[in-house]
């Protein structure tokens, strides 16, 4: 029989939260394992930081990106075990008496399934792009701004012809700035931030003025606006083309314009990547400012499921700096629960990280209010695709609500939306909001997709390659009853 790996603490995700958590936990003598989907550590924010071809010219990505290196060395020296290229697809509590609690974790590496036993699990699954459902967003040539940045970081691959960036928020401008640094031409940046947002955000300006983001942000904005055609108050965008993107049509200040384009890069903020948390049974709540589902966690990252913690953007969007500190705070709590440190030690060790976390989130309300994704780009109508996998449109979803379908899970049986390979990752928030919009109730009342393991597609061949334990065999073999 193949040996099943065991650890005390399993950390899922090697972004700032996961790296910082695993480093600290291992340093406290916790037997720690870090599983991450990507081939090298860093998460999406510091993606490919150890392997990027842009290391030769650090000014393209900028110093904030390279600051992520401060997490790598300590992690590599920490003694934490690390498995890259590992996709976790199931986490379940072990019930067999001899296993004494803990979790059985299923994951795959290179198409081969494996099992791991862990006493405590810390999910540091980060963020993903918020869906940007506009007409034509499924056309080849339309990608997320995050994807554009990943191409740049991992491979030094950049657009070579007509390029339009569209949406709102800091990341969009950061990509534009990085392209400027690399000498890449951006034809236009369509900013969808509605007029009047600054007024709404102003009550939060005090925090923003004391934020470390301010000086950096202004410098970046100035550089982008001086070099790229920025169109403000864009209220509608369509990607046009037959088999690929050919043009972008947009409305600004009541006027419609069309730009020829080969690439359109979309961004309107990020949302927590919650599929694992959701499937394991963590309670979610709807965040009305950030317009997304968030796992409910306490100050230490604890969830409603014993021995499952969440840290970083996967517990609610707060950015990379905050993620790092939340990772450390959650690691200290895990170490306490695993009996490595007592509560007093946890509290004293956590203090600097709690302070640093508070500093890191200063000014977030200003950002979040300023760049909240506007209604027309969150609540599509008509033929606009909502579920990219099953190719379900906004019109179909709205019609189905009118027929009496009350929620996302019922919607699956009508339309199959959310049932394709992405398992709702790119339609979940939109479907909830569309149903809420049609019913005239809150997203919280509508609820969310119910997710089950495996959270990522798995072949039967992969499953069959799993090592079998006596417990797993007994779970499926029917015992012959004496007659």
């Amino acid at each position: 029989m193949i040996a099943i790996h065991t650890c005390e603490l399993l950390v899922v995700g090697a972004g700032p939260a996961g790296l910082a958590a695993a480093t600290l936990a291992a340093g406290l003598g916790v037997d720690t394992m870090l599983l991450d989907e990507q081939p090298s550590p860093g998460g999406q924010i510091y993606r490919a930081i150890t392997s990027s071809p842009l290391r030769a010219n650090k000014k393209i990505l900028g110093e904030d990106y390279w600051s992520g290196e401060s997490l790598i060395g300590p992690f590599q020296a920490s003694g934490a075990k690390y498995e890259p290229g590992a996709t976790v697809w199931a986490i379940s509590r072990m019930t067999a008496p001899e296993l004494a609690g803990g979790f059985e974790v299923g994951y795959s590496v290179g198409g081969e399934a494996r099992m791991l036993h862990a006493k405590h699990v810390l999910l540091a699954t980060g963020a993903q792009e918020r869906p940007f459902p506009i007409p034509g967003w499924t056309l080849p040539g339309v990608i997320t701004a995050g994807a554009a940045q990943i191409l740049l970081k991992t491979a030094g691959v950049v657009p070579g012809d007509r390029t339009v960036l569209a949406g709102s928020g800091p990341l969009l401008y950061l990509v534009a700035w990085q392209y400027l640094n690399a000498g890449i031409k951006v034809d236009a940046l369509l900013d969808t931030t509605p007029a009047g947002r600054l007024g709404k955000a102003l009550p939060h300006v005090w925090g923003f003025l004391r934020s470390a983001y301010l000086a950096k942000g202004l410098k970046l904005l100035r550089a982008v606006k001086a070099n790229i055609k920025v169109i403000q108050h864009v209220s509608a965008i369509e990607a046009l083309g037959q088999d690929k993107l050919e043009a972008v049509r947009y409305t600004a200040n009541g006027q419609q314009h069309t730009l020829q384009a080969d690439q359109l890069m979309l961004h309107q903020g990020v949302i927590p990547n919650i599929n694992l948390s959701q499937a394991v049974g963590v309670t979610l709540r709807w965040n009305d400012l950030l317009m997304c589902w968030e796992p409910q966690v306490d100050d230490w990252g604890n969830t409603n499921i014993d021995q499952i913690g969440i840290a970083g953007d996967g517990a609610g969007i707060a950015g990379a700096w905050a993620a790092e500190h939340r990772g450390r705070i959650a690691a200290l709590e895990a170490a306490r629960q695993l009996g490595k440190i007592d509560q007093a030690r946890r509290d004293s060790m956590a203090r600097p990280h709690i302070d640093a976390y508070a500093r890191a989130v200063r000014g977030r309300e200003f950002f979040d209010t300023m760049y909240q994704a506007p209604d027309p780009f969150r609540l599509p109508t008509g033929d606009t695709v909502v579920c990219r996998c099953e190719e379900v449109t906004a019109g179909q979803i709205r019609e189905t609500v009118k027929l009496g379908c009350p929620g996302p899970n019922q919607m699956k049986s009508f339309l199959r939306c959310g049932m394709g390979p992405c398992q709702g990752r790119f339609c979940s928030v939109t479907v909830t909001e569309l149903i809420a919009d049609e019913r005239g109730v809150s997203p919280e009342e509508v609820g969310h997709y119910r997710l089950r393991f495996p959270t990522k597609p798995l072949t039967l061949g992969e499953l069959a390659s799993l090592p079998q334990t006596d417990a797993s065999r007994q779970a499926v073999v029917r015992l012959k009853k004496p007659v």
């Binding site: 993903q128 994807a147 191409l151 991992t154 491979a155 657009p159 088999d243 690929k244 992405c422």
Partner: protein, 102 residues
Amino acid sequence: MYKRLPESEQAMTGHAVAVTINGEPVHCRQGDSVAAALLAAGHADCRDTPVKGVARGPFCMMGVCYDCLVTIDGQPNQQGCMIQVRPGMVIERQQGARKVMA
């Protein structure tokens, strides 16, 4: 169309990875994902969808959206953005849903 920055070209010099994309030989940088290699080689799309049969290409580049599914070395439904190029890899456009294989 996408292109490589000089830093990326430089990283390829001397140790490019040779693959084929839809039968055409293509040189990639070691460490490129299949999806990045497709885009850098001028392929905006990589498959036709199972429901409506329309063209799709890589979209999120981080393993979330499953739009970059391609056939790699005869295996359909492979996530192009999550798999790195290997010498001799055969990458093919995927048409519709995968077929059940014996």
